[in-house]
């Protein structure tokens, strides 16, 4: 399939992890979408950036630690891009060194343009 024919879909994660199930079920959707050879990207903005915080240990919660899944989304599950919004990170006292995995840090203006290239935006 050529690049032009691929549908661009972006997951927009705006919720913090664990307090709700949105992050977890968004990841389950990303992992499935990867198999369909479309152009899927993932953006963390607002409280969504907390999902990328390194050092998460969910053992006392009895929940799965989904920050461990992010490193393989691109190589193993065909996700095209993982973006995190610079402004949201900074507002929350975080920087690149706080992140559990390597992602593309982009500013809000760049992200705004990327959102406009999408056919569908899926907020979680």
């Amino acid at each position: 399939m050529s690049e032009q024919e691929k549908t661009k879909v972006m997951f927009v994660l705006r919720t913090a992890p664990y307090g709700t199930i949105y992050e977890q079920e968004a990841i389950e959707a990303m992992v499935m979408f990867g198999a369909y050879e479309q152009d899927i990207s993932v953006t963390f903005t607002g409280d969504g950036v907390f999902s990328l915080k390194k050092g998460q240990d969910t053992s006392l919660l009895g929940k799965k630690n989904f920050s461990m899944t992010y490193p393989i989304l691109i190589d193993d599950f065909e996700i095209s891009h993982i973006y995190v919004e610079k402004e949201s990170l900074e507002e929350r006292g975080m920087s690149e060194s706080d992140l559990a995995t390597e992602v593309e840090i982009i500013d809000r203006n760049t992200l705004k343009q990327k959102m406009r290239e999408m056919k569908a935006l899926l907020p979680f």
């Binding site: 705006r14 903005t45 402004e87 809000r108 705004k112 959102m115 056919k119 935006l121």
Partner: protein, 99 residues
């Protein structure tokens, strides 16, 4: 883009996040508890008026009526539309829901 805001600005960042992402030619639709951003005299009146210098803002009549808000309590220039108007806005702009 059409920015759909459905949470009260007093309880959620949906409204302010939508403002952060709005661009020229974009529009905003306030629905459900999001309509409280359009009430005159509230904390967000300034932000909304500022936004409306460049962008059109709409609110759903079903949601304002249900919540006891009269049309004259809505900030000037916020356009009041029904569900068919909502559909029409979605045909004109790609939607993003902020909740």
């Amino acid at each position: 883009m059409l920015h759909i805001v459905k949470k009260s600005p007093y309880e959620s960042s949906a409204f302010s996040d939508a403002i952060n992402y709005i661009e020229q030619n974009d529009i905003m639709l306030l629905t459900e508890d999001g309509i409280y951003a359009a009430k005159k005299g509230g904390k967000f009146e300034g932000a909304l008026k500022n936004l409306m210098q460049k962008n059109a803002v709409y609110c759903l009549i079903a949601d304002i009526k249900a919540r006891g808000i009269q049309e004259n309590e809505i900030i000037e220039n916020v356009k009041i539309i029904d569900y068919k108007g909502f559909v029409e806005k979605v045909t004109e702009h790609n939607p993003m829901t902020w909740s």
